[in-house]
């Protein structure tokens, strides 16, 4: 089995899609963690590992990279349409 998700840090609430995922595809990490994509997720983009409520911190590399602007369900694509920067709002 080839892993197509990368979890950069155990505290992360997002994983990185190593290949593009279509809605319904199952992404699998090295340790076997599986996430079903609920939307299309482009390669090298983020997918939610857990349900992330609006206003919650997006954690990647074990660090806060952004704040969600709406509820993001597990398996959703996480990008500029559903998060905002905490610094340099762009």
């Amino acid at each position: 089995m080839t892993a197509n998700l990368l979890i950069l840090h155990p505290h992360d609430n997002v994983a990185v899609a190593l290949t593009a995922l279509a809605a319904g595809d199952i992404g699998t990490a090295h340790d076997g963690e599986a996430i079903t994509a609920v939307t299309d997720v482009p390669a090298s983009h983020k997918i939610a590992r857990v349900d992330i409520p609006a206003g919650a911190e997006i954690v990647k590399y074990g660090e806060i990279v952004a704040v969600s602007t709406r509820d993001i369900p597990r398996g959703d694509w996480v990008h500029t349409h559903n998060l905002e920067s905490k610094v340099w709002k762009r």
Partner: protein, 386 residues
């Protein structure tokens, strides 16, 4: 693991190469250095665009740190210094700053030694003489703790921060665990991460230095770029999945690993601490590599996603491709393929391969940039030329 070997220098530093460096003091003698390079290809010949015509205090400080630093570098066993005669960083000035280099330094000046052709001939003869002399230096057993390894990234793509830099971070953590040191910089790539880096500081003073460094980088970027400052995260970055400036910066700083930052040093300044060192230097690859090398890095890892061949004179640079497409498209320029992480290889497996490669390079195996002679030598300036 493999026993490492290197060259023990009189100042106690350890080199992993034993080069004869032929260094220009000023841009005017570029052609002389190029002639010597053609005559003596085994020497590391370094012409450059600096040495005069810039009088600002910060530029002088950097000039008088970088050129002596190249002479003192532990990978250099002997030096031919070629000057003009009337430049700011004259051979006399540089030798007075260097003091006892702990290695043979032969000095020539075009204005005193018969013009460019005669100087090139004498410089080439000196380089050959010194090559024969350094050949007798033995390789002796050295330790991982003798190493300062630079971590650089350039020509990045969306995978750089996910594969290559992450793997380099694992190498950095391992090396620091062995008592070795790692240095990384590129202050423009730290914007938005002051809180992250400061939390990782070894003590409160270092934390304050980190915050000041990131603030300065943010302020300077705004001052110079104005409304375009936000383009430090480009549309291409966003297409690649980076949503915020902090996310982009984290992808860059992860190449330093996760250990405590023990010291912040100025551009091209030599650290006095061991462990993970942060350098307040620019992101531009050539300038950044010079800062890391002059700080004493004997070896560098350099991640790239779009692909750059750049190496550094006298210092092995291990190129890490962030994706397999690049690794194969520029096969002659790349040393490590971190793209295998996309195809299912774990970060730990890749790290172990990189450690094995690093050991072989320390012990003398040339990197692709070394084989190909892809040296780049530029350094930071902040004032306009006069």
């Amino acid at each position: 693991m493999t026993q490492l070997t290197g060259y023990l220098r009189p100042d106690g530093k350890v080199g992993i190469r034993n080069h004869v460096l032929v260094l220009a003091t000023v841009s005017c003698v570029t052609g002389v250095i190029q002639r010597i390079a053609r005559d003596v290809p085994e020497a590391v010949c370094v012409p450059h665009a600096y040495g005069c015509g810039r009088g600002g205090p910060r530029d002088l400080e950097i000039l008088f740190r970088v050129l002596p630093g190249m002479v003192r570098h532990p990978n250099v066993g002997a030096v031919v210094l070629v000057g003009l005669g009337c430049e700011v960083s004259s051979t006399k000035m540089l030798m007075s700053l260097i003091g006892d280099a702990g290695k043979p330094v032969e000095v020539f000046n075009v204005q005193e030694d018969g013009g460019s052709l005669a100087t090139a001939q004498q410089g080439a003869e000196a380089a050959r003489r010194l090559l024969a002399q350094v050949a007798s230096h033995p390789r002796v057993p050295v330790q991982w703790s003798d190493l300062l390894v630079g971590m650089e990234c350039g020509g990045s793509d969306a995978m750089s921060g996910v594969t290559a830099n992450a793997a380099m971070g694992s190498v950095a953590d391992w090396l620091v665990g062995q008592g070795g040191s790692v240095i990384f910089g590129e202050n423009t790539e730290t914007i938005g991460t002051a809180h992250v880096l400061a939390r990782r500081a070894g003590n409160e003073a270092v934390a304050q230095q980190i915050v000041a460094m990131v603030d300065r980088a943010e302020r300077l970027t705004h001052e110079i770029m104005g409304d375009l400052a936000s383009l430090v995260i480009s549309p291409g970055n966003m297409d690649g999945g980076m949503s915020t400036i902090a996310e982009k910066a984290l992808g860059s700083i992860c190449k330093g690993g996760t250990t405590a930052i023990t010291q912040v040093v100025d551009y091209a300044e030599t650290p006095t601490e061991k462990g993970l060192i942060l350098q307040d230097g620019p992101g531009y690859d050539g300038d950044s590599m010079t800062g890391l090398a002059v700080s004493g890095a004997q070896l560098m890892f350099f991640s790239t996603g779009r692909g750059t061949p750049a190496g550094f004179p006298g210092v092995p640079v291990i190129k890490v491709a962030s994706n397999s497409r690049l690794f194969h498209a520029m096969r002659d320029d790349m040393d490590v393929n971190a793209g295998v992480m996309i195809e299912g290889t774990s970060r730990d497996t890749l790290r172990d391969e990189m450690l094995a490669r690093m050991a072989r390079v320390v012990n003398g195996e040339p990197t692709q940039a070394e084989r190909n002679g892809m040296d780049v030598f530029t350094f930071m300036t902040v004032h306009p030329p006069f």
